[in-house]
């Protein structure tokens, strides 16, 4: 049985001033039916680009190789009509900033129902009834009135609930949540995360959860991928990945994260910054910042290798990390 979303050796290059600029390299990733999968990494590492590829939202002129299959069907070769059927209905997306992702001049009702009417063939009345149900489902108070309101009349957290309801409107099977809590207050984040988890359990929705916050993953996802400079550098069960990382980058990310209860523990920032696309060093992209770097890291890109049960890592010292853990 194939996965719902099966990305295989995907590479994406965007048109740049000096020729194509490679953004994603050799990305393989799966999301199973009803599964909640985490995708983590710093900004600019290719997480969002992966999401945009899967929705056909890459800027014009972007070149893709490899494959991305949704429910067995290849996405990368879809024409415009084909994309219109997949978007919203098969794969839906929640954006990072709900304020930017909701149209400021259209009512919530319009934004919730317009794609329902196209994908589900509903009339106005039926679509509005479903919109009220959806808003109820995402726990938005007074849904009837909300339909007539505009996005700016809601708080940030409520806006994200509206956006999630909109993403769910046409009954998609996969939801891509691109940092859906990053733009929100910390107190609001937990509510949104709980909502996503509840929706997955209630409706069998598969969720790809993109974040830069590894802590969020542990609470939510069973499996996670860690991206660095357009590559997957480590993948595996979230719990194991966070407690015993098999890639120095994952370990470094964990070290740079504030620890909830612990005080007095100094954070360890990762030296330097991620290389820009097109300025990658030869060999491992993390070699310029890695504390464990060896000569061989600077010559060839290490491929993903098994590193424990259901785990893979793209690091030459993955076995030593395993022993150390």
């Amino acid at each position: 049985m194939g996965a719902l979303l099966d990305i295989d050796r995907l590479a994406v290059a965007l048109p740049g001033p000096r020729g194509p600029l490679p953004i994603l390299h050799d990305v393989s990733l799966t999301v199973g039916e009803g599964e909640l999968v985490g995708i983590a990494g710093e900004s600019g590492c290719g997480k969002s680009m992966t999401a945009q590829t899967v929705l056909g939202l890459l800027p014009p002129g972007a070149k893709t190789t490899g494959s991305a299959r949704f429910d067995g069907r290849e996405l990368l070769t879809l024409d415009r009509k084909g994309w219109q059927r997949v978007r919203g209905r098969g794969i839906a997306m929640v954006f990072q900033d709900p304020t930017a992702a909701l149209h400021p001049m259209l009512t919530v009702g319009t934004q919730l129902t317009e794609h329902m009417r196209i994908h589900l063939g509903m009339n106005r009345k039926a679509a509005q009834r479903r919109a009220v149900d959806l808003l109820d489902q995402v726990r938005l108070p007074d849904p009837e009135r909300a339909l007539r309101a505009y996005p700016h009349q809601f708080s940030g957290g409520m806006r994200q609930r509206v956006a999630i309801a909109g993403a769910l409107a046409a009954q998609p099977r996969l939801l891509i949540a691109d940092e859906p809590t990053t733009a929100l207050d910390v107190t609001v984040q937990a509510g949104i995360l709980a909502l996503l988890d509840r929706l997955r359990r209630d409706t069998g929705l598969a969720v790809a959860f993109i974040t830069h916050d590894l802590g969020v993953l542990s609470a939510l996802t069973a499996r996670s991928y860690v991206f660095y400079a357009g590559r997957v550098v480590e993948a595996g069960p979230t719990g194991a990945l966070l407690t015993g990382p098999r890639h120095p980058y994952t370990a470094a990310l964990l070290g740079a994260r504030p620890h909830g209860g612990q005080t007095g523990v100094a954070l360890t920032p990762i030296p330097g910054s991620p290389p820009a696309p097109g300025e990658l060093p030869p060999g491992c992209a993390f070699s310029t910042r890695c504390a464990h770097v060896r000569d061989e890291c600077r010559t060839a890109v290490p491929p993903l290798h098994p590193a424990g049960p259901d785990r893979t890592s793209a690091c030459v010292i993955r076995t030593e990390l395993e022993v150390a853990a």
Binding site: M93, L102, D142, S155
Partner: protein, 365 residues
């Protein structure tokens, strides 16, 4: 637990649409309009002061501009002219008398036409409106469509061609374009009349709006309406070219900016057909900044276009203002200036109201 939140202060903070601001202020719209009206009145007063002052400073004398050489040599005639138009009084008194008349709706009498300025305006302004209104409608339609097309095809051949076309339109002098279309459509092809509002042999319809096509159609004189419409074609064509060129550039850049927004991406991500995304999501947001430019363009058209009106023999406001200015015909200059100022303030008011209509975020403030 979905209760109406209007009378529940606890829920009102979480319920999204907050309480309507200032319920005590029952008619914020009326208050706003009243405020704008007062501002407009002040502005018009300022225009009279400025125009009055400017005309005093300008070298030249209405007497020499209006009287024949023979009359100028006759001191009695000069004195009579000065007395008749109040030019023998000090400026502040002239101004004071002018204001007094103005308040009763009397703009004075034009030295050139010998008619009341109000009457002159009622004659010349509708002629200009007859050009300005179809021009603006056409320009809005074409400008929005072409500008949007350029934005959606950003950087591609269509976009390049449109941009070059818009630049050409902007840099083409209107009088030159007028002469070219006249040469082509009147002289070479014989398809259109050479100018004026009606062909010889037709008499203007009874005045309702003052716009011949409209008035003729209202009274059922279809032949007359058709003739008047034919006279509109060339000047409207020239003015539309210019206005479209201005609008296309604005629409294009505005739409390009909107296209960057996440909500456009989100609209596509919902699986909406492109036509719907463009029509509902892009157009609405992209038009907001365009409204201002369109308003200014419309006001400028309504204020008359001297060169185009001149070449097409169109008796519009531009011609009237031009002739009054060259004759230092103070009442007429003041009347035309007041009208233009009024047009600009009214158009600006309409623009502000339109903003509120299109953008709900502005509506609530």
């Amino acid at each position: 637990m979905t209760t109406r939140t209007t009378d529940n202060p606890g829920a009102a903070t979480t319920a999204a649409p907050g309480p309507r601001p200032r319920l005590s202020h029952r008619h914020p719209m009326l208050a706003y309009l009243a405020k704008r009206l007062v501002i407009t009145a002040g502005l018009l007063l300022g225009v009279t002061v400025l125009t009055f002052g400017l005309v005093q400073v300008v070298p030249g004398d209405p007497v020499t501009a209006n009287l024949s050489d023979q009359a100028l040599n006759d001191p009695a005639a000069v004195a009579a002219f000065r007395a008749k138009w109040g030019l023998d009084q000090p400026v502040y008194l002239q101004y004071w008398h002018y204001l007094q008349h103005l308040l009763s709706g009397d703009l004075g009498t034009s030295q050139q036409t010998g008619r009341a300025v109000v009457e002159d305006l009622l004659h010349y302004v509708p002629a200009t409106m007859e050009l300005a209104i179809p021009t603006m409608l056409l320009a809005l339609l074409l400008g929005t469509g072409i500008g949007m097309l350029a934005a959606v095809r950003n950087g591609r051949l269509t976009d390049q061609l449109i941009r070059v076309g818009a630049l050409l339109g902007l840099s083409t002098p209107p009088f030159w374009l007028s002469l070219v279309v006249l040469y082509l459509f009147f002289y070479q092809l014989g398809l259109s009349p050479s100018g004026g509002r009606l062909s010889p042999g037709f008499t203007p319809p009874d005045t309702v709006t003052g716009m011949y096509t409209v008035d003729a159609a209202l009274s059922g004189q279809w032949e007359l309406a058709w003739d008047a419409a034919q006279h509109l074609v060339l000047p409207v064509l020239v003015l539309t070219c210019l206005t479209v060129a201005i609008l296309v550039r604005f629409v294009r850049s505005s739409m390009l900016e909107v296209l960057q927004h996440d909500y456009i991406k989100a609209a596509y991500a919902k699986g909406l057909p492109t036509s719907l995304v463009l029509r509902r999501h892009l157009l609405r947001a992209g038009l907001v900044p365009v409204i201002t430019v369109s308003g200014l363009a419309f006001a400028s058209l309504l204020s008359g276009t001297v060169l185009v009106e001149n070449i097409f023999g169109w008796p519009g406001l531009g011609q009237y203002a031009y002739r009054s200015a060259s004759a230092l015909d103070l009442p007429a200059i003041l009347g035309a200036s007041l009208f233009v100022a009024l047009v600009y303030t009214l158009v600006n008011l309409a623009v502000d109201l339109l903003y509120g209509l299109i953008d709900p975020r502005i509506r609530l403030q």
